[in-house]
Every structure is written in structure tokens, then in C-alpha cells.
């Protein structure tokens, strides 16, 4: 059952990202684990693509403990915005640690610096996990500004963007405002299972 769910999610993400430059995925917290697994499976299946995964939700260590296969994926770089703030300071290959999720300019700069080193012909993808957690650590207005910058810059550089928004009570208005900046919105529902 779990495999079917993950395969279906992978399929939905793949077909959406093939035709849209940016997609926003709105999901309930209960589907978070399956969704990121589906994303990583998708990344692993396309080794010719270049991916950046910005994590504001969980420390890299935590994600890799739950999904050990991600440490073997060669075409992904992580920007971990949460470990340093959580007091985890283990240097890890392929992971850039940002001292705090409030350092939005630094997150933006690291994204662009990594993509600058990628062959221009390679298809490039960015995942922001998640807008919800960026809002927890920052004022919603500044997250909107940050996300606008990211969307505009990635569009100009032909980079596809996937941004996750985990539904949270009291945050609907902010998340809706942000998620609608994307070209396509995928709503994942519990009923989908």
C-alpha cells in the first residue's frame, strides 16, 4: 500500500514538473513522510538532473536516518537550515549548513552559487521544504519577498521549483498567498490514500 502511494505521488510530481516551471504542493502533515520519500525516489531515478533540497523542516541527519538511501544519491545537494539552530554541527558531504532559517539571503545565495557550478545543459530543480517552516521562523511578509525572489530568479535561469506547504491551522492565508505564486498547485489530501 505504501509503495503504491509513493509511486502515485512520484507520478503526480513528475508529470506536474514536466510541464510547469514551478509547482507548489499543499499537503497535510500526515502525508509529509510519504511525499518526501516520493520526491527522493524521483530524484534518484533521474541521475542526469541536478537537484537542491532546502530543508527547513528536519535536520539532514534526521531525514537520512529515516530514508538512508538519500546519502547515496549523487545528483542532490542539501541546504540544511535547521541543524545549526538545533545545535547539530556534524560536517556532512553534500550538505551546506546555514546557521539559522532567518538567514534568507544566505539561503538564496547558496542556491544560486550551487547552480552556477552546474553544466548549463543539465536540468536543474530546487525543492523548498517547506514554506510553512520558513514562516514559523520569519515574518510572513519577508518569506513572501524571499519566495518571490526565488521564483523570479529560478524562472530567469530555467530552474524548476517545487515548494512544499504543510497545512497548519492559522497559517492558511499566508500559505495560500505564497503557494499561488507557483505555476501549478498540487493538493495532496488524506483521501488520496
Amino acid at each position: 500500500m505504501a509503495n503504491i502511494l509513493i509511486d502515485s505521488l512520484m507520478e503526480r510530481i513528475s508529470s506536474a514538473i514536466d510541464v510547469n516551471q514551478s509547482i507548489g504542493i499543499l499537503l497535510p502533515g500526515s502525508n509529509y513522510q510519504e511525499l518526501i520519500q516520493a520526491l527522493f525516489e524521483r530524484i534518484k531515478s533521474k541521475p542526469d538532473e541536478a537537484w537542491i533540497y532546502v530543508s527547513v523542516t528536519k535536520p539532514f541527519q534526521n531525514i537520512s536516518k529515516q530514508l538512508p538511501f538519500i546519502t547515496e544519491i549523487k545528483n542532490i545537494r542539501f541546504i540544511d537550515c535547521i541543524s545549526r539552530a538545533a545545535g547539530i554541527s556534524k560536517e556532512t558531504k553534500n550538505v551546506i549548513f546555514i546557521e539559522s532559517p532567518t538567514m534568507l539571503e544566505k539561503i538564496g545565495l547558496e542556491i544560486m552559487n550551487i547552480f552556477k557550478e552546474v553544466d548549463p545543459k543539465t536540468k536543474k530543480y530546487l525543492v523548498i521544504d517547506s514554506l510553512t517552516n520558513l514562516i514559523i521562523y520569519n515574518d510572513p511578509e519577508i518569506v513572501t519577498e524571499f519566495f518571490n525572489h526565488i521564483i523570479n530568479r529560478t524562472r530567469a535561469r530555467d530552474i524548476n521549483t517545487i515548494s512544499l506547504a504543510i497545512e497548519e491551522e492559522g497559517m492558511e492565508s499566508y500559505l495560500n498567498r505564497l503557494i499561488f505564486l507557483n505555476d501549478k498547485i498540487l493538493k495532496i489530501r488524506d483521501s488520496f490514500i
Partner: protein
């Protein structure tokens, strides 16, 4: 005076991509530029990167320090990937401790008389000329002036320094220390008047964290950007500038 488009050879590229873009290509050659900021804003790193980048293009430079000993300065530099020790060993980048020069000249290192200050000015100029440097940094003008005993001496010294620098063909950065969270350009209120340009390094607070900022306040002869940007410092790339997010600033 209207700003005219300067030719490439009339501009001194800092080698910091976005900064050069903001400057319209670089600092007009021969300018004296004040790099203003409080402690920890990145003045020394910015100046050092400017010198090292110049040396990599074949432009010799000199860094006069009066704020920290050379061993400390080089130890800090070692962590940056832009730093190349060979440039120092080959004499393309010269690091000089002004306190040691003062001692060798027999000057009181803590308090300068008018004669001491003049002697120091002469030696600065002689070194720059002898080494044929294209880029010069004094870190910091504030610490140098601190050793002068009266406001009149400071004023006189700064004006003489300004004339000396103007007569040399090199492009100079003078660092200026200010108290935190103050929008002022210098400690003595006169350094800015001998400067052709002012680069202001500051901070903005976001949720208790400090974000470094950068702004070109003036740059004579250049059609420059005046927007406030975020300034980031990493061991990999040194100083980098990035659009500052300003909601609720």
C-alpha cells in the same frame, strides 16, 4: 558634476562580482575610499579580498595595519579560499604593521606628535612609491588618528594624508570604525571629506539575528548603485553581496 562613463583601464575592479556591478565596473582608479563599519561588519575581509584579487591580476598592493598584529591577520586570512599565501611571499601583497614601523622610527606608538605624524605620512608614501603599488589599504584610519592628541592634529593629519594619497596613482581603501548601529561615516567627522567614495557596512537585526549589510554612499566619478544589499562572508567565497530582503526593516 555629471558622471561620465569611465573606460575599463580607468576603473579598479574589486574582483567582488556584485560590488563591481554596483560600482559600474569598479572603483575609479586613484580614488580614496572610506570603508565604514562597526566591529564585525567585514571591513578588513573586504579590503583584503580587494588586495588579493588585484594581486591575482598583477596589481601589487600594500596593507597597513594598526589594529591587529600580522600573525593574527594572516591566521584569519588562512581560512579563506581567496587567500593565496604565495602572493604575500612573492611581494605582490605586502602586509605591514604600522606599529612596528613607528617603533623602528623611534616614535611613541601610543601618542603621536605633529612631527611623528608627518614622519609616518612620509614613510607611508615612500613605501607605496618604492613598492610601486596600485592598491593600498590602511586599517584603520580611526586607530591611526586615535594616536593624535588634538582635533586640530587629526584634521591636519587627515588633510595631509588626503593630499598624499591623491598624488599617488594607487587606489586606496581606508577603514573607518564607528560605534554599532550608528549611521555616521567616521569617528572624527572629517575622514569622509578627503574621500572620493564611501562604502557603508552595517547590520540589520532579524528575529535577533544580525544580517550584514552593504551600501555605496558615494563614489565620485562613477555612476553607482545606492541600494542597500545583504553582505555575506563565507570561507569559500569571502565577501558576496545579495539582494537584501526588506520587509518590516
Amino acid at each position: 558634476m555629471p558622471e561620465t562613463q569611465l573606460k575599463e583601464d580607468e576603473l579598479c575592479e574589486t574582483g567582488i562580482e556584485k560590488l563591481d556591478e554596483m560600482l559600474g565596473g569598479g572603483i575609479p582608479t586613484g580614488s580614496t575610499v572610506l570603508v565604514v563599519g562597526s566591529s564585525g561588519t567585514g571591513k578588513t575581509t573586504l579590503c583584503m579580498q580587494y588586495l588579493i584579487n588585484g594581486a591575482k591580476k598583477g596589481e601589487r598592493g600594500v596593507f597597513f595595519t594598526i589594529t591587529e598584529p600580522l600573525f593574527k591577520l594572516t591566521k584569519n586570512l588562512d581560512s579563506f579560499s581567496f587567500y593565496d599565501k604565495k602572493l604575500v611571499e612573492s611581494g605582490m601583497v605586502n602586509l605591514i604593521d604600522l606599529r612596528i614601523i613607528s617603533e623602528r622610527l623611534g616614535l611613541d606608538t601610543e601618542k603621536y606628535t605633529v612631527e611623528d605624524a608627518n614622519a609616518l605620512l612620509d614613510i607611508l608614501r615612500d613605501i607605496a612609491e618604492e613598492l610601486n603599488v596600485k592598491r593600498l589599504v590602511i586599517d584603520s584610519i580611526t586607530a591611526l588618528c586615535y594616536r593624535l592628541q588634538t582635533p586640530e592634529m587629526i584634521r591636519d593629519f587627515i588633510f595631509k594624508l588626503g593630499s598624499s594619497l591623491a598624488s599617488m596613482s594607487c587606489t586606496t581603501l581606508l577603514t573607518s570604525e564607528i560605534p554599532p548601529c550608528k549611521f555616521q561615516y567616521s569617528q572624527y567627522g572629517i575622514e569622509e571629506f578627503i574621500s572620493d567614495g564611501i562604502l557603508f557596512l552595517g547590520d540589520v537585526e532579524r528575529k535577533g539575528d544580525l544580517i550584514r549589510t552593504f551600501q555605496i554612499v558615494k563614489m565620485r566619478g562613477a555612476s553607482h548603485d545606492r541600494t542597500k544589499t545583504a553582505m555575506l562572508i563565507s570561507t569559500k567565497n569571502g565577501v558576496e553581496l545579495e539582494t537584501l530582503l526588506r520587509s518590516r526593516e
